[in-house]
């Protein structure tokens, strides 16, 4: 494995958050989410993630990145925001 350039982790994190945002917008059927802030809360008044969209999102995350968020995160804190979900995935997929 080549050494990582400084800042590479942050870049991949951003890239991943961008992918997750695209995915969320698609699954929720809400194109306006494509420009949502990465730090916006996913639950509640922020993005208002419902359990159907959340389930589809976690299933797709498991399929694409091999990270089973529900199995590892009892309270689903990883779903606080797109940024936190990206960092949760990033630290686990190695």
């Amino acid at each position: 494995m080549a050494d990582r350039r400084p800042g590479e982790a942050a870049e991949t994190g951003l890239e991943l958050a961008g992918e997750l945002r695209e995915l969320l917008a698609e699954l929720a059927g809400r194109p306006e989410l494509r420009t949502a802030d990465f730090g916006l809360p996913l639950f509640g008044t922020g993005i208002g993630l419902d359990s159907l969209t959340g389930t589809l999102l976690l299933r797709e995350v498991h399929r694409r990145y091999g990270v089973d968020v529900a199995a590892e995160d009892l309270n689903l804190d990883a779903l606080a925001s797109l940024a936190s979900l990206a960092s949760f995935i990033e630290t686990r997929r190695g």
């Binding site: 059927g29 809400r30 419902d50 359990s51 159907l52 969209t53 976690l58 529900a70 009892l74």
Partner: protein, 426 residues
Amino acid sequence: MVWDVDHTLLDGVFLEADGEPPGADPAMVAVLAELSGRGILHAIASRNPPAAAEHVARVTGAAFVAAECGWDAKSDAIGRIADTLGIGTDAIAFVDDDPYERAEVSFARPEVMVLAPEEMTSAPGWPEFSPAVVTAEAARRSLLYLDRQRRQAAEREFGGSREEFLRWCQTEITIGPAAVADADRLAELSARTHQFNSAARALPAAGFAELIRAGETTGSRHAAGPAGPMRVGEVADPRPAVRLMGPTKAGEAAGPRPATGSAEAMAAGGVQSAAGDTARVLAVRLRDRFGDDGLVGTCVTEAGPDGWTVTLLAMSCRAMGRGVIDALLAWLIGAAARAGVRELAIPAILTPRNVPLRLALAAAGFRASEAESAGEPGAAGEPGQKRAVFRRSVDAGAAADSAGAIGAGGEAAGETPAPGEAAGSG
């Protein structure tokens, strides 16, 4: 039931026919009709063009809630059918005359019951296909799934968000005390739902009936007329309308009978064990412009010294994505706040299948401190099964918060607590 077409439902091969495709196998037509009447759904998995499914529906006269026509593995077709219907593949039986197809499905999906057509003539006599009670919801299940297909098709066409779609559908969620007549359906929900089910064990109809009767006796003094109907157009919040049935004070209606006596006395008197005395059973009903889903959910709450415990929460997967679980949780929080209760606790098993429940709990602000393994006496679940108690403190603000979260239903139904009442519960 997922059915093959050629030499299974049809008396021949769809594509090999010269002129008219073959007719239906009369023995299978009888089985289709018998099982439909018991609430068992039928679907098609066929290596044929989609026209084959239309032909089969025509010649058998049966309603098929899903059809997968194509040339990939039947085990994949079964997976897509389960996804479409929102059910687990372990609830599926597969019928095919081709031993190769049966072997493929058995290997790829061992949880699926795999059958040959000749076995199907005796299948209606088997316990797997013989529910003890066929509820009104079960007998109409095929139609409800067809409503669901029309709703999903409309949602794909719809331009706006899911909340806007639900509002356009005139989604109406009714939450109120369950009646004894609901017991069979409540038992069915507790046994058959998985994605929004908090418990590992089903509660039988007799158990529900007992809880409901006890609640009716002790709770009769709280009886009041149902809240008035709400029109969605009046709702400022673009969420589905929630109609609250029963007593006008939600805290008294929804929750367990308000505790009498001191906390010490209740702890000593075994309030938890005397469930019949304090438990309340809620029934959640759902309808919209596409159809009436009837009773789709339930929860059982018990009053304890520290707050209310939801000992069972079960919701049909048909209610998924329609704002029902969120409305129920918001309503429980509001009811608890108005009753001056400090904490709501929802013990839940942790399975890969009830992740939707955990998402709803997280969205409603519930948290569990840590997962534990069940196994101690009285704990829900099988030994070794993981469970956790999801808790949420209830403060004065929760009453107001939940009124907003359930689509201003509280206000329309006269539910808004008086300022003094709200302040007093904090």
